[in-house]
């Protein structure tokens, strides 16, 4: 009951945030140099043609009017039509966003699967070989740019060993997973490094707590002490960080989709930016922002569930 009210309150609080995001997205797109007409017609277009197209697109109206129209359409679930692809933006996003979300979820999972056990090993073997090795490896991973790691993995596992495809998306769910594995791993590496470092530190700060000693004094098995008493408390800070990192992960997805030629929303966004395809840029940016906001909400919820002290 408490939790439900909390969720409702948080969703209502989300509305002004989303409005603000819509405004920023709108302004960004319209204040960008260049315009769709010249992008479509090339550099030598006649001013008259440019003006005609701008008029057709409604771009010659005052900005506030354009923004209100944008909002009105938004409320009707209409994000406009793509200038280049001659499709409604909503249908484009419907095709492309699930790809990006699948990629992001996969990389988040891979990151957690890597970070969780390694953080434990590193913390429990603090300053010994295993710890130094784990931290050193992740440090190297962290200092390389995402696209570079992507290219390395692509070259080695894709082109050289031929274990994984070097790009594309496939057409069944299983082949989606197969195609997305390398990209997800690429994205996951830096996130798992960040998570690992944070969780290791959190475990170290919790493991000496009095309540952990008290749990040991009860004669609980070591596994239970670690999972129930240490991990649950250590996770509180790591979950927060994880949520904050989802934005970064989506940003990384944009790059990764380009490197691996994956037809996701990130690549759609990049292409539409080059083409000055305003409606698509607006639509994709807005959707990604909504996804990030929803992950923040989800993060907060998980936190409240992990830490009963927060639930009021």
């Amino acid at each position: 009951m408490h939790l439900l009210l909390y969720v409702l309150r948080r969703i209502i609080q989300l509305i002004p945030t989303l409005l603000f995001i819509a405004l920023v997205v709108f302004l960004l797109v319209h204040l960008l140099p260049g315009d769709p007409a010249s992008a479509m017609l090339g550099d030598r277009a006649l001013t008259a043609d440019v003006n005609r197209i701008n008029h057709e697109l409604g771009l010659d109206r005052p900005l506030p009017v354009q923004f209100l129209l944008f909002l009105r359409n938004l409320l009707h679930g209409d994000l406009g039509r793509s200038i280049q692809l001659h499709q409604s933006v909503v249908s484009l996003i419907e095709q492309r966003l699930p790809v990006t979300i699948l990629l992001t979820v996969m990389s988040a999972l891979v990151a957690v699967v890597l970070a969780l056990p390694l953080a434990f090993v590193a913390a429990l073997r603090r300053d010994r070989e295993a710890d130094v090795l784990i931290r050193g490896t992740f440090q190297i991973g962290l200092s390389m740019p995402v696209f570079y790691i992507g290219l390395l993995l692509l070259t080695f596992f894709g082109a050289y060993l031929r274990w994984f495809p070097v790009g594309g998306y496939g057409d069944t769910f299983a082949s989606h997973l197969y195609h997305l594995f390398l990209p997800a791993l690429t994205l996951a590496l830096s996130l798992s490094a960040v998570l690992m470092r944070n969780l290791r530190q959190a475990i170290l700060s919790v493991i000496g707590a009095e309540y952990v000693d008290f749990a040991r004094a009860k004669g609980l098995p070591a596994r239970l002490v670690l999972l129930r008493h240490v991990l649950r408390n250590a996770l509180i800070s790591t979950v927060t960080l994880f949520g904050l990192q989802i934005g970064t992960l989506l940003g990384g997805a944009v790059v990764t989709e380009t490197v691996f030629a994956i037809p996701g929303a990130g690549r759609l966004m990049i292409e539409s930016i080059y083409g000055r395809d305003y409606p698509v840029v607006q639509g994709t940016t807005l959707c990604l922002a909504v996804v990030v906001s929803l992950t923040f909400l989800l993060t907060d919820l998980i936190q409240v569930m992990l830490d009963p002290r927060l639930s009021r």
Binding site: G208, A209, F214, A217, G219, R228, R232, R309
Partner: protein, 331 residues
């Protein structure tokens, strides 16, 4: 009624590495606790009482080091395999921690924290564990037990948390209870009630108790024997009667003198002059020497060993006879 077990501690020492070098927080401590016996462990703050209790059941973290022998049920707890130690902890030997505000896990319901002890040490099923948890809360005086089991530690006051911790410690009917100031956060009536509860379990289960306390009134009312600690060592031990009647160590005398006597004029508390030495800078000879009015060159030259001066009566003072003879000088 179950048969009780004895704890025999021999030459227990606990050393910590600190930036100032190794400090020995517990230094060659020996004592026994028999079934159904309550041993009071007293001494100023920092004298090593909590570290002693933690050392007994292996709760000292490396690089802290514990040496000596802790014999329980024919085995040395300092070297038993982990599985055996787990069965002893919480099942046969339970500990009440000193600090109720930090000893409970903030993210788990208190009910779960009681039940996990029962789960580890009894064959009770879910429903029985819950019933036992409610019974325990009733025993330690937590009202509305059924509902309270679902609550988290932050929803309890300090005194209530202390009672929760006591309930957890008593959950599996331990044969030895290590109680580190179990009643500090409680008001006097509840304190009385808790001590009575512990004493009734002692009678019922032949449970031995090590009771750490600052309150000599509590010692007089509950303990059979006392061990007085100073700077990591036991400086005097014996039956409550003997020690209250005729302390043989100047430090014990000081402690006793600082207790306001019932019926006496309420005057300022007579505290022992000075402060305990830092463990990293112990004086040579007797650690209490610098604060002792009986001390002479001999005390500064050699550290007095704890010596038997009667049946079950020990003291570590070169001048214990003089101390005993100089009655009245303090009070």
């Amino acid at each position: 009624m179950k048969a009780g077990l004895s704890l025999e501690v021999k030459n227990l020492s606990t050393t910590f590495e600190t930036p100032l070098g190794a400090v020995t927080a517990v230094d060659g401590v020996s004592f026994d606790v028999h079934p159904g016996e309550v041993l009071g462990l007293v001494g100023e703050s920092g004298s090593g009482k909590s570290v002693t209790l933690r050392s007994l059941i292996g709760l000292i973290h490396p690089p802290g080091k514990v040496t000596g022998q802790v014999t329980w049920n024919g085995q040395d707890l300092l070297s038993v395999p982990p599985g055996r130690l787990r069965r002893v902890r919480g099942g046969e030997i339970a500990m009440i921690f000193q600090e109720p505000m930090t000893a409970l896990n903030p993210v788990l319901t208190v009910g779960l924290q009681v039940e996990e002890n029962l789960r580890a040490h009894t064959a009770l099923d879910r429903g029985q564990r819950r019933a036992r948890a409610i019974e325990l809360f009733d025993l330690v005086g937590i009202p509305d037990a059924k509902r309270r089991l679902e609550n988290y530690p932050h929803q309890f006051s300090g005194g209530m948390r202390q009672r929760v911790m006591i309930a957890i410690a008593l959950a599996s009917n331990p044969k030895l209870l290590l109680a580190d100031e179990p009643t500090t956060a409680l008001d006097v009536t509840i304190q009385d009630q808790i001590l009575k509860l512990i004493l009734s379990l002692r009678d019922e289960l032949q449970m031995g108790v090590v009771l750490v306390t600052h309150d000599l009134g509590v010692v007089a009312g509950t303990c059979d024997r006392i061990a007085v600690m100073y700077a990591g060592r036991i400086v005097e031990s014996g039956s409550v009667l003997e020690i209250f009647d005729g302390p043989r160590h100047a430090y014990t005398r000081g402690l006793l003198a600082s207790v306001p006597q019932a019926g006496a004029e309420r005057g300022p508390l007579l505290a022992i002059e000075g402060t305990p030495p830092a463990l990293s800078a112990l004086p040579t000879g007797c650690a209490f020497g610098p604060r002792c009015s009986f001390a002479n060159d001999a005390c500064r030259a050699t550290r007095p060993e704890l010596a038997e001066i009667g049946p079950g009566r020990q003291v570590a003072c070169l001048h214990h006879e003089t101390v005993a003879a100089s009655k009245g000088q303090f009070a």
